[in-house]
């Protein structure tokens, strides 16, 4: 079913992605991620000694500070901090540096829909830039369900407000992290990605399978993009060959080009 979107995109089309690493000088790692007009800046201060009171000292601890564009910090910001913290805790290798705290500061520069996924992507890139040991990358996408039942990817703010439901999904870029140990690959069948985090708003009915399929398409696109930014071919998802959707122009810049 063809849908009319305001900026002329098709259902599966993403907005232009842009990512820069190493933009701040004092921070140990920094990245900025933008999807269309939504832009988020993330900075990482590497392992500092000591953990907070309620945290487990046998593992590294991750602290997230979310800075909105304007106004006071309220409940929505605290919720985003918690989601980011749990997502990043599952992708970092926490046993390498026990009893340390890594701080991630996320600054919203502009919000035009898909804010939390952009923040997760930016935070992941900033962690890579800082050299924090990670199991794999995390890629976040947003898909939504409109009132008439069709699914669209990467909504703008206006589209998000009109939708019946939307979901933010975070996938890892390597299936092996979510497979149970020792399981056998089924011959000839592609393995699905596991989901690290999922946040939903609104009501959906039995459409979640459809959402996941759409989501995986977008994930493949984003993965190639982040993989390219990282300059490392091992991080690219093996399902690369199945792409059949198109997306906008990619701009990727590194201030100094470090090897990842």
């Amino acid at each position: 079913m063809e849908v009319d979107r305001e900026d002329g995109r098709s259902q599966n089309q993403l907005r232009p992605l842009a990512c820069s690493r190493n933009i701040l000088h004092r921070a140990h790692g920094s990245a900025s991620w933008s999807q269309g007009d939504t832009k988020v800046l993330a900075a990482v201060y590497g392992p500092k000694a000591g953990t907070k009171k309620n945290e487990n000292p046998e593992k590294a601890c991750i602290e997230v500070i979310w800075k909105p564009k304007t106004g006071q910090i309220g409940k929505p910001e605290k919720e985003y901090e918690m989601i980011l913290k749990r997502t990043l805790e599952s992708i970092c290798i926490l046993t390498v540096n026990p009893n340390t705290t890594t701080s991630i500061i996320v600054q919203v520069v502009n919000d035009d829909g898909a804010l939390l996924p952009s923040a997760i992507n930016a935070a992941c890139m900033a962690l890579v830039d800082a050299g924090i040991p990670m199991k794999h990358l995390a890629v976040a996408i947003c898909c939504c369900v409109a009132k008439s039942g069709y699914v669209i990817l990467d909504p703008t703010k206006l589209e998000e407000q009109k939708m019946k439901a939307f979901a933010y999904l975070v996938f890892p870029n390597s299936v092996h992290s979510v497979l149970p140990e020792g399981s056998l690959r089924v011959e000839g069948e592609p393995i699905e990605n596991g989901i690290i985090t999922s946040v939903t708003h609104g009501i959906m009915s039995g459409i979640h399978c459809c959402l996941l399929n759409e989501g995986e398409l977008q994930v493949s696109n984003c993965l190639i993009f982040s993989g390219g930014t990282c300059n490392s071919s091992q991080l690219i998802h093996p399902k690369l060959g199945d792409l059949n959707s198109s997306f906008g122009p990619i701009i990727s810049t590194d201030e100094d080009s470090p090897v990842c």
């Binding site: 002329g8 201060y45 000694a49 000591g50 500061i105 600054q107 390219g228 792409l243 906008g248 122009p249």
Partner: protein, 305 residues
């Protein structure tokens, strides 16, 4: 949390001595002369009233928003201007999140005095209905990277954001003309603020040996210097504010020298801000004409390399 306090950055004794010795021969560690400013780059975001300024390694983001509120009782015909500074923990490992520290408050006050007391922004034009509705302009300054001399960079960010901000047009309506109707930007073009002049803050650092003076200190120099002074001047030669809080004593002729230097620098910085705003306004006008963004589908396999 005591363990985490051990992470603050300190300059070593060797570094400090090197900076001071180099200054004796009028050399600064980043290669500048004592009275040379760092390169300023001013960029704007998609929205009206959002600016990002980079002064060397220092990076500040400014955001202007407006809201209709009731005016203060003693000033029923004037709008309200308020400045909020956020020393984001991403700028410096020693910045803690939460309540603003004394540096943040001092920075906010310097910029506030420069803008409000010198009447740079015309607050009377912000009044819609005397005693009932006025516009409250809120400037949020986010410090993203601390490379030294935050005051100057934040001031330029605030000015750039104010010059590109547009407030919605509103008119009086209702039965007795007491209601205010705010027109959305699609129906009526929003209006810019009236800014009479641009007060530019210029900071100086004083060093103890033989009263050496530098302009625009970096954060290494800030850790070494004995005193600092910020003068806010505009391109017309008016002095809007001077802030020298503590530090070592400085003779009068040095202060006069600083003021003269500041006035000459202010002229060039004012021109730079105005040029950047001009470019943004042209781009904004072009964007109004072009409705659909051009996004061409790109085959992924070609791009990946």
């Amino acid at each position: 949390m005591e363990g985490r306090l051990a992470n603050s950055w300190r300059l070593t004794v060797n570094d400090k001595n090197f900076i001071k010795t180099a200054l004796l021969s009028e050399i600064r560690i980043d290669g500048r002369k004592p009275f040379e400013y760092r390169k300023i780059s001013i960029k704007f975001g998609r929205e009206d009233g959002s600016s990002e300024v980079q002064l060397g390694q220092t990076r500040v983001m400014g955001m202007v928003t407006a809201q209709l509120v009731q005016p203060y009782r003693d000033r029923p015909k004037e709008g309200i201007l308020s400045i909020f500074t956020e020393f984001s923990p991403m700028a410096d490992p020693s910045f803690e999140p939460g309540r603003p520290g004394e540096l943040a408050v001092e920075l906010g006050r310097i910029i506030d005095r420069g803008l409000r007391e010198s009447r740079a922004v015309d607050t009377e034009s912000l009044c819609i209905l005397a005693g009932k509705f006025v516009w409250a302009i809120r400037i949020d300054l986010h410090i993203l990277d601390n490379g030294g001399n935050l005051v100057d960079a934040a001031n330029i960010a605030a000015l750039a954001a104010l010059l590109t901000f547009r407030r919605p047009e509103c008119s009086l309506g209702g039965e007795d003309g007491q209601e205010v109707i705010v027109h959305p930007p699609e129906i009526r073009e929003p209006l810019p603020l009236t800014v009479h002049h641009l007060p530019i803050a210029i900071s100086f650092g004083f060093f103890s040996n033989e009263s050496i003076l530098v302009i625009d200190p970096t954060h290494n120099e800030e850790a070494v210097m004995g005193g600092r002074m910020t003068t806010t001047v505009n391109a017309n030669g008016d002095i809007c504010a001077i802030q020298k809080s503590g530090g070592e004593g400085v003779p009068q002729r040095v202060i006069m020298q600083c003021l003269q230097l500041a006035t000459s620098k202010a002229a060039s910085i004012t021109k730079q801000i105005k040029d950047a705003v001009e470019v943004f306004n042209t781009e904004r006008a072009l964007r109004k004409i072009k409705r659909h963004p051009t996004s061409t589908g790109v085959d992924v396999r070609e791009k990946q390399n």
